[in-house]
């Protein structure tokens, strides 16, 4: 039986995919999504925390750096440790790595240019709370739009990520838009409740957007939360 899930969409100064993410979450039956301002000190009671894309603090200094130090991120850290599901998209992914909730970092794209296009992704692990609705190995189409999506980590970390199945999404072979290691597009933490990804599933919710392949990600979460 579906129950209501409370879902937080964090808003930092400079977030700009917050309204898109809110719309996407509101489209999921049973989800009650609301904005949470960056100065908020507690996220207690939320079943899911969404960290949106955009340019928090203008991406100045380092992408995600200043947002990672906001009060709401302390609160997020606490909830994440309790196993609450956290999804960071694009700038949200960058913030999660800066906050140390996910390993590695996102360097400037190899081309040094912003890139916006629909990119084919491979579902590398379909057994996570974020990907269970996908067929393992399936290719899905989800847009990317970023200037710093070039995932990088040291060799040991990479090995660990791969061994543990923490790489959840990969760019299809030959279609890596940013030069990331092992074509990584999205990873989760070891306990599997925190996912960061550069592509924007909230921009792939209906055919008129060009693809509806992002929907299954939210539906996977819906399954996991119920």
């Amino acid at each position: 039986m579906a129950q209501t899930q409370r879902c937080a969409v964090l808003v930092f100064p400079g977030s700009n995919c917050d309204s898109d993410l809110l719309k996407a979450a509101q489209a999921i039956p049973g989800w009650n999504a609301e904005y949470v301002w960056h100065t908020t000190e507690s996220l207690e009671g939320f079943d899911l925390i969404l960290v949106p894309g955009g340019f928090s603090y203008g991406d100045y200094l380092r992408v995600g750096a200043m947002a990672a130090r906001s009060p709401v991120m302390q609160a997020l850290r606490k909830e994440a440790a309790h196993g609450v599901a956290v999804l960071g998209i694009c700038n949200g992914f960058q913030i999660l790595t800066e906050a140390g909730l996910l390993p590695g970092t996102l360097l400037p794209n190899r081309s040094l240019k912003f890139v916006c296009e629909v990119s084919p992704l491979e579902v590398a692990n379909a057994q996570t709370a974020f990907s269970s609705r996908y067929t393992p190995g399936a290719t899905i189409r989800v847009p990317v739009a970023h200037g710093a999506g070039n995932y990088f980590c040291d060799a040991q970390t990479l090995e660990r990520l791969e061994a543990n199945g923490q790489v959840v999404f990969r760019y299809a072979e030959g279609q890596n838009p940013n030069g990331s290691l092992n074509n990584i597009a999205g990873i989760c933490n070891a306990s599997g409740n925190v996912l960061g990804m550069m592509p924007h599933p909230e921009r792939a919710m209906a055919e008129w957007m060009g693809s509806a392949d992002g929907r299954a990600l939210f539906e996977s979460l819906q399954d996991a939360l119920n």
């Binding site: 400079g14 700009n16 995919c17 309204s19 340019f55 991406d59 240019k113 916006c116 008129w208």
Partner: protein
Amino acid sequence: MPEPTPEQIRTEQVYLKMGLTHSEYEDVVQRLGRLPNLTETGIFGVMWSEHCSYKNSRPLLGRFPTEGPHVLQGPGEGAGVVDLGEGWAVVFKVESHNHPSAVEPYQGAATGVGGILRDIFSMGARPVAILNSLRFGPLEGDERSARTCYLLQHVVAGIAGYGNCIGVPTVGGEVDFHPSYSGNPLVNAMGVGLVRHDRLQHGKASGVGNPVIYVGAATGRDGIHGATFASEELNDESESKRPSVQVGDPFMGKLLLEACLECYETGALLAVQDMGAAGLTCSSTEMGFKGGMGMELDLDQVPQRAENMTPYEIMLSESQERMLFVVHPGREPEVFTICEKWGVPAQTVGRVIAEGVLRLKHHGVPVAEVPLSEVCGNPPLYHRTSLRPEVAEIWQKEPASQWDQPDDLRMIFRSLVQNPELASKAWVYRQYDSMVRTSTEVGPGSDAAVIRVEGTEKALAISIDGNARYVFLDPRTGGRIAVAECARNVVCSGGRPLALTNGLNFGNPEKPEIFWQLEQAVTGMVEACQALQLPVTGGNVSLYNETDGEPILPTPMIGVVGLIEASRHVTRQHFQTPGAVLLLVGNTREELGGSAYQELMLGRLTGRPPELDLTREVALQRGVLEVIQEGLVESAHDLSHGGLGHALLVCSTPTLGVNVNWGSALRPDLALFSETQSRVLFSVSPDFVPRVEETFREHRVPCEVIGSVEEQTFRIQIRNTLVLDESLSELRRLWSEALEAQLESE
């Protein structure tokens, strides 16, 4: 260095540096009845620049039709406003940032985007789309080509840098190349916003004593005299008289945008205007003047970034990300609370006064007072002389084509599609976030962009366009074509054109041949607007676009916004299914003047541009909209630069190409590359072909089957003779990689 005294300003002709001519300065003295001080001279200098006063172009702009049943706000405010029904309105405008972009392309383009967005949200609207129209010199083979590549790369990066960060999708535009832009690139940006009728804002100050609040980034010495700088020719001296470059802060821009929209919700605001060109001067004088009031400002209250700024500097600074509010008395705290939440400085800097003057205080003493009726109400007006150049006569008599058909049309085709003018612009628009806000249904790469209006079935179709080559050869015809083509783009996407904005980019209007171009182009635009019933709700004029006396091609850029009534009407230019029938609508004649093919064969522009019969154009557009609304076509594309040949390629997809056998009586090369206007290429399911043909018969527009959509094919016959049989993927690769190849060959 002490400020020059009023006497020195006169004797040493300091006013010249501030953009006033001798007679304009004497006019100021007369109107004031005394000698103006430096600040006052500066205020007149910027407010009487072409950029702010339209002193050369006003008589012409007055000829545009500005009224229509849907127009809620015509020219005069920050941007035009048009009703969409269901309580929604669309706000849109074009702005140029040519000169700043020539000097510092990244910041010039970025601040151009920031500026047009502030125009949009100063009207109360949330910006939902950005388009851009760019012109550069050739990317190779010109002594300035290396600089041109740098300019293009950094202009695009600047547009991306600002638009992506502030979170407004850049959904369309155009890029064109011609040697006349080598030293004077054009960077025009168009902003589009949506607003509920009851949230519309305006810039008319009201209520004696009401507080005036400065909102946004602190004022520095940025871009002092940008507006006058924009109204002069570029030459070597431009380097040295350069003001410190304005720097865009899209992060602050985003905070300012959100803070403003939230302030509008409170209802505490009486008036709002952005600080764009001429900064605090323009916003305070115009707000006072439009409201029939005056304004008194205490310059010590203006947030300042630099130390020891003079009144002159504070008033003329063009620091970015700033707005000016007039607020209901006593409701300032609401504004301050919101601004503080968003981290945006806000400060009461003055009040509205009954007397129609701008009065400034600094360090407790009065430092300037100017009558608004003179500054804003009655700037100089010049009726420039117009002269038709002799060569225009000669061009009119030239034959359409002056060369024989080349043996190898395959090579011709390949060179054409790799020509930067016709090559794919994906290298450019991949750098723009075209999807943020998730309302983009059709992004860059089709005739018009399509943006959904949330909560309704409706969508906007938006296009920016303007082929300067035709305008150069015959400005009146070229002006007509520019308007018609842009509207046609909108129609092909399923939209009914609602209204038009434009950017007139021309050379020095004091030269009679240039003024003739401007006058004729406007005439042609007016004719097309009338025929197509398109009101003009705003625009921008950028004159003096010359390098060492050489003018740019006359370049009117047209922006049209159309309304798509239902989402099923949204139509793209790309083929959808194999086996669909290709229909060519409209007549094709031998019209090569200004064409891409002519340029390839002759290396120059000459002759007559294509004709534009407005009656036929109107009929065509009606028919296109009808067949789209009836759901009869799978794709639609307006034929423009590059003709049918180019259209066939750009409508293809990685898998779907064409098999054409066209019965045209023209010589095959001319058939493929003629740029006859009022033509559209459809792909139509075989079942619907008769109904489409019938519709156009009724409109008396020719419509013929020329072939079909076919997988992995690019084959063209004219009257059963094979002229081209290419690998689709190879041809598409050449077309899509050409621009990148030129720009990134290190």
